[in-house]
């Protein structure tokens, strides 16, 4: 019997030839990611840090992104404590305020490589499966333990196979595809599972794969992963990585899957996730006309150049409805620079967009675009839970950048297939 992707990566890191699904193994992950929550993490182990130090400073990557620039004194103190820790323990991979969202940074700066096992104290750590890594979220306490010992336990997951065919139609995006999958499988449809994408993945760009892998946790997945191919190779080379030695990993043809699903990309349509659940997914056409007060394009789910380019193709030469605010949240400084250089950002600002600094911004409701009671937001982010954007009496719909850009023009949800776009 062959091994799945998850079995192979976990076995390799546990110093084993094979592992069985359901088995608990102890292993040392290659990398640990933490963000603004680093302050709380190191606060738990200040005595132990003084006594034992950091297990391996090279493995701890820190990105300040959640509340940046600091929204209040408390956040500012947290950031200051983290900078102190970085200095004291000589943490080489530290990205201060303004560099971008941790997941984008991990990919862009080449920390993510095929076959690595990466844990992060953020649920969307699963994004790195786009580059053929095994990556999953953990809590702060576990991150604290990893800083000290470099070791933790993992239960070997069973695996779900999703076979893709065809190619997405114009105005239908990877976001629509993954929302549809979540709608079908449910918010816990992949709970505890590893999710492997097979088939016509070559039709998806790295930005697309990151969007899909990022949303894995919204169906409960432990990790979600794509095979290594030319798209991955080109991405790694472009980011000046892939020059080091790494070993790509993929499932054996004869391995065992708990469930298999097939998706024909040709038949996908633009969809939205309705408040307050990510798996409450319907075609956009069902909710056309729903009034919206705020639109958000960006985040670690859809804040990359291709996402802004899609939005600009809709908004070029037009104006956002006066009743609607359009927030633009690039996933990183590099994305922002690219969007500026290519004129895409100017197009979006001319249309009425409000540019926010690269980071998590309003996605988690701490600052920058908090909603008022009764308000409705249409967002390209990954969660629409009640209260997510700072107000329990507001509503959040999730959609693709094309759907959000189109809807921003009218101040109500609209199907992007009916809007004439201007390819920039």
């Amino acid at each position: 019997m062959g091994q799945t992707f998850a079995q192979k990566v976990i076995a390799r890191h546990a110093g084993r030839v094979t592992v069985l699904a359901g088995e608990i193994v102890f292993l040392k992950p290659d990398l640990l990611l933490s963000h603004d929550n680093t302050a709380a993490i190191i606060g738990k182990i200040s005595n132990e840090l003084a006594q034992y130090g950091v297990f391996d400073p090279n493995r701890h990557i820190i990105v300040l992104d959640h509340v940046v620039p600091a929204a209040d004194e408390k956040s500012a103190i947290n950031h200051a404590r983290i900078r102190e820790y970085v200095k004291q323990f000589h943490i080489p991979h530290f990205y201060d305020v303004g560099q971008g969202v941790c997941h984008q940074i991990m990919m862009e700066k080449g920390h993510v490589q095929p076959g690595l096992l990466i844990l992060g104290s953020d649920s969307h750590t699963c994004t790195y499966g786009a580059a053929n890594a095994f990556a999953t979220g953990i809590d702060r306490t576990e991150a604290a333990a990893l800083i000290l010992t470099g070791e933790t336990w993992l239960k070997v997951p069973q695996t779900i196979k999703i076979e893709l065919s065809g190619r997405l139609a114009p105005n239908v995006t990877a976001k629509d595809l993954v929302l549809s999958i979540i709608g079908d499988l449910g918010a816990d449809g992949a709970n505890y599972y590893s999710v492997e994408y097979h088939g016509k993945v070559g039709a998806l760009s790295m930005d697309d794969r990151m969007t899909i892998a990022n949303m894995g946790v919204e169906m409960g997945a432990k990790n979600s992963v794509f095979p290594f191919d030319k798209v991955t190779q080109d991405y790694l080379v472009r980011n000046k990585t892939g020059l080091e030695l790494f070993e790509t990993v993929w499932a054996d043809a004869d391995c065992e899957y708990s469930h298999s699903f097939t998706y024909d990309m040709r038949t996908q349509v633009p969809v939205v996730a309705m408040p307050h659940k990510v798996d409450k997914v319907v075609p956009v056409s069902i909710v056309e006309g729903q009034k919206i007060d705020q639109c958000l394009i960006g985040t670690c789910t859809n804040g990359r150049l291709a996402d802004f380019a899609q939005a600009a193709s809709i908004l070029k030469g037009k104006k956002v409805a006066p009743t609607c605010r359009l927030l633009l949240l690039p996933a990183s400084r590099t994305v922002l620079q690219q969007a500026l250089d290519s004129g895409i950002m100017q197009t979006l600002i001319d249309a009425g967009g409000i540019l926010l600094p690269p980071g998590c911004g309003p996605c988690l409701g701490a600052h920058q675009g908090v909603l008022a009671p009764g308000e409705v937001c249409l967002s390209t982010s990954n969660r629409n839970f009640k209260g997510r954007m700072g107000c329990a009496d507001a509503e959040i719909f999730l959609a693709s950048p094309l759907t959000v850009a189109t809807s921003a023009l009218y101040g109500e949800i609209r199907d992007p297939r009916n809007e004439r776009s201007d390819k920039t």
Partner: protein, 162 residues
């Protein structure tokens, strides 16, 4: 002893709103906001020894650990659910909060029923037993140490000395 009952997909924002995630990290700061957007009665009225009963996918969403920390701190004796989201499940182990996955018990319970947990693996509802599998040995060791950090402290002391 009160049983607090909720439905499916109780997410981390319901258990502890994201707007407080980066300003509240101690249990004193966390407790007043526990379940704030789900059940405003909870934080003020929960007592040590109470039980939380829920449907499937309890704790889905963010990796924030305030829910597990807070529920342990107020003395919830166990969360019984049909299933748990994985990061929350790990967080609970790490905090020493007892989680029991037992769909049959969740379905069998009705308001006011007599409920009793034998942590060796049985929930009794009006004297009808519902069994749940024991934790794997590796995980039980962490629990018995009082959570992950006490476990790690002990391990470090043993390996590297004082």
């Amino acid at each position: 002893m009160k049983v607090w009952r909720y439905g499916d997909d109780v997410n981390t924002d319901m258990l502890f709103p994201g707007r407080y995630t980066y300003t509240c990290s101690t249990v004193e700061e966390i407790i007043p906001h526990l379940l704030e957007d789900l059940d405003p009665e909870f934080a003020a009225n929960v007592c040590s020894g109470d039980i939380l009963l829920a449907g499937s996918n309890f704790g889905c969403g963010s990796s924030r650990e305030q829910p597990a920390l807070g529920l342990k701190a107020v003395g919830i004796q166990a969360v019984i659910a049909k299933s748990f989201a994985r990061i929350f499940y790990r967080a609970a182990i790490n905090q020493g909060l007892f989680l029991i996955e037992c769909p049959e018990a969740v379905d069998a319970y009705s308001d006011g029923a007599d409920i009793n947990i034998d942590f060796q693996g049985v929930i009794r509802i009006n004297d009808v037993p519902y069994t749940f599998p024991p934790l794997p040995d590796e995980i039980r060791t962490i629990r018995q140490a009082g959570g992950l950090l006490p476990y790690i402290r002990r391990k470090l002391e043993k390996e590297r000395g004082q």
